[in-house]
Amino acid sequence: MRFLLEHLNTHTEMPSSVHDAREVLDEVGIEVKTVDATAQGTVFNCELLANRGDHYCYNGVAREVTGRTGKPLHFPQARQLDVINADATRVKIESPLCLVYTVTELFRGDASTPLPADVLAPLTAAGIHSINAPVDASNLTNFDIGQPTHAFDADTIDGPITIRLSRAGEKAWMLFTEAAVEIPEGTLVIADDSKILGIAGVIGCVESGITDKTTRILLESACFDPVAVRIASRRLDQATDAAARFMRGGDPTLPLAGAARVAYLLEKHCGYRVGNAYVAGDWTDPRRTIDVDVAKTNRFIGTELTPLQMAERLTRYGFAVEVPGSATPALTVTVPPHRLWDVAFEADLAEELLKSVGYNATPITLPSVDMGALPSHRENVETLVNEVLVAEGFFEIFTDSFYGRGVREKLGLGEDDPLFAHVEMQNSIERNYSLMRNNTIAQALDAFVTNANLRNTNIKIFEWARVYFPDLSEKPLLWLLANGRDRGPFWGDKGRPADAIYLKGIVEQLRLALRIDLQTGASDGHRLERFFHSGRRAGIHLDGKLVGIFGELHPQLLQRFDVKRHRPVYLELDVDALQVAPRPRTYVEPSNRQPVVRNVAYALPRGITAADVRDALASAAPPFLREIRITDLFELPDARAVTFEIEYLAEEALTSETINAATEAMITAVKAKFGEAVTQRA
């Protein structure tokens, strides 16, 4: 809301400099976003507290300032009205959602004139154009004291004004709209015997609106239930100033004051004559009281106010305070009508006192802390995984938790595919947010494509993500994608491809870092299995359960994402499954003896794996075998040459004969198992 500093000064004395005036507003929670110099004066563009309807006017803001400064608060001049209780021939309130309703008669004089420019300055400064004298006076009054009013052309009203709930099928032609629309049943409306005159607290209607020809006005000034106004405003998509005020809770004692202010402006400046004011409604002030424990409140907010000082500060905001005397260390505070909607607890009054004293004027303390806390196991797992991945050159990214419907087609998900069903967003304003993701492959590939299009094809990325399922459950997972080389690229070290074997190395590093028994093996049954190249994928197992998958992405999938000439690899791990206790640390004293090594190489045809041969070698191994390592791989036209390095170590000295005999036994075991299929190479 835009406030003219010079006009604010008429409500309370503001600090003399713009800088200080801005600061005092900031201090009381009226945040000044920008300051504009206009023809009318200095305009503060303010962000108001969302719950404070009473702030939506000059007097409300000024009241906050007086709470802080102690300067007097001035109420704008108003006319004394002749008030009469309305009978049913004039006003009928049929719903308790209308708290107070008044109509005041105003008669246009023969020489009606507009409001003077200086009076209109607050409206002009706020960018509101003058329409006609009654509307301008109504707008000004709302700006000044926060009481919305509405002018009906009295000659268009048929019978008594009735405040009631709308009926099924009823229509209303709201101001500034093209045509009458159906009003949702149960909306609080102002009506006469034949039509709806306005939506209570929101907007008036065209048929009863004033025109240049209007001579008799019925000025509505009322207070409605905030929830009823909010529902109507939202259902009808009418975000008016009146609705903004009422939906935050109006002041039920203010309608007559509002009418009196409008009447004053029109009578003084525009030649209007003022008739009677008719009042209806049985709202009574509940006079809510709150006891304030002075010592406790002082302790809570960090002040040393006496009961009298506390009382004086609260009265600045309009609270009535009883100070029983020093024997009773409690104040009895009565909440004024304009604060009934937001003040109900002692803590609410503590906040008022804090604003008055100043949020920065109280001491800063820090309670003593007995003990700090350690990271949880989950945090430790995340830290260790991050360390492994970062050391390998991976960058963490965050992708959206949702995507558009087009992902189904890109992933090739038919309607019978288990991944077809998603949690569907009901009201997203962006098409790309239609579905909550149930996988992260699509976004990982999108990320790859983004980078590939930028000629950045050596990428390693990872994300701690969640996926969501139609039963509204969700699952945390870790995914990573790599493409290009496993390291570099460097001028003197080309590295090797970041392929599925590389990801297997990552799994092995994670296994060591987390000290959990992650194993790689079959990927059968993994929900993402079909997205991988069938010859270059593997499952990740932990304690017999399939907890992840990795490998090269399926060429068909890559085609759908328009990935050419690249073979990105992807890994996914179930994060919950990693939350197992790590193996206890064990230490085996290294032997002082030198190990003995023998090498044996085999040509392996397709279908026989290195692990098969390694297992066959191990099946005949002597007790002093320490390890069988694969040290080389050479691709032949129709086979692969694999070199196994066999390491022996014993506490007693081993002779060459013993070693050679053991190696020969292992070679024999391989021959026995595979026959001629596997040939030993020199």
């Binding site: 300051v35 507290l49 960058f395 963490e396 992708t399 967003m425």
Partner: protein, 348 residues
């Protein structure tokens, strides 16, 4: 050699030493002049057959020769080795203007780094992390937090609605509600961090998904001063000791009093009414907080007259962007790896 006199031996040694320029040649000299069959060793063995008059004189002469040869050989050794190393160094020149080769580290996301930094101080204060779901019910996201249906505060957060009256959490305060509901032993010191969602059109300053870091501390006797003290610790841990902070009234439905925390503008230090960074405000809001609202305590069955609680929430996306030197938030959530490499390497 044994027929030579000591003088002749030394003379000859000196001549041969001058010609020995390799470690191997020096070792050969050492063997010949100080080894088992050398003149020195043979002469020493002959001492026993000499008369009492001759023996001391000859022994002195031999010892002198032995020490002289050894000293000269040591000096020559050092000189030859030095020359060899100098030659090695000269031939082993590397062009160190070539780029270095080492596995380049990646990096965790700037948001993760901000979370870690904040958690460091929170742990010192005894806080631990709790997690909550992204998919929530309106109860935990709104009603339990004193945001009833049709309350204007619901307008503050445009909500993504999901089937069966579920929604995507619009703040991590949901974790606060879930924690209080469980009634853990006092004091309750919990931090929640993660993604939150707002159904907004995305631009440079608005995102549909961003990150928050939130905490509550519930205990008897906590005060507004404690809130300020805790927030100051957190802010200093994230931004550094040199910054100036202030507090101001705000409105959050789940706190009373509600408190905003500002950091003095690092560009104009609150001295330029036309500062482009803070638009003349002099201050930039960094977090929202407050004392837990009595209605929240009542909702979960706590006695609000005895207990009090501190609650705070930080939009870590903005902080991470500031720390990374970004002027917009969106790049943090983009997958262009050049952005992350630049952030991580600080433009180096």
């Amino acid at each position: 050699m044994n027929n030579m006199s000591t003088h002749e031996t030394l003379t000859r040694f000196r001549a041969e030493l001058g010609a020995a320029t390799t470690p191997e040649a020096l070792q050969d000299l050492r063997t010949r002049y100080l080894g088992k069959k050398s003149y020195v060793k043979t002469a020493l063995k002959s001492l026993g057959g000499m008369s009492a008059e001759e023996r001391p004189k000859f022994a002195k002469e031999i010892n002198y020769a032995s020490q002289e040869i050894e000293r000269a050989l040591d000096a020559a050794d050092e000189q030859v080795r030095g020359a060899a190393i100098a030659k090695q160094i000269e031939t082993e020149w590397q062009d160190l203007t070539m780029p270095g080769i080492a596995q380049q580290r990646g990096a965790t996301h700037p948001l993760t780094q901000v979370h870690r930094k904040a958690m460091d101080v929170m742990r010192r204060l005894g806080f631990h992390i709790e997690e909550g779901p992204d998919i929530e019910t309106p109860y935990y996201n709104f009603d339990a937090l004193n945001i009833p249906e049709n309350h204007p505060a619901r307008d503050m957060q445009d909500t993504f609605w999901l089937p069966n009256q579920h929604l995507l959490r619009s703040h991590t305060t949901t974790v606060q509600a879930r924690t209080l509901e469980k009634h853990p032993p006092l004091p309750i010191k919990v931090v929640a961090a993660g993604r939150v969602y707002r159904n907004e059109a995305v631009d440079s300053t608005h995102l549909a998904m961003f990150h928050q870091f939130e905490g509550i501390w519930v205990e008897e006797g906590l005060t507004y001063g404690d809130l300020k003290g805790t927030l100051t610790e957190i802010a200093k841990s994230i931004y550094g000791d040199e910054h100036v902070f202030r507090f101001k009234p705000k409105y959050y439905p789940y706190t009373e009093p509600s408190v905003g925390m500002d950091m003095q503008c690092t560009v104009c230090h609150a001295k330029d009414d036309d500062c482009p960074a803070c638009k003349g405000a002099g201050w930039i809001t960094i977090l929202g907080s407050g004392m837990i609202h009595p209605k929240v305590f009542i909702e979960f069955g706590y006695d609000h007259t005895k207990l009090s609680g501190i609650a705070f929430g930080i939009g870590t996306t903005r902080i991470a962007a500031q720390a990374a030197g970004l002027t917009a938030l969106k790049p943090l959530y983009e997958q262009d790896l050049r952005v992350h490499q630049t952030i991580h390497r600080g433009g180096m």
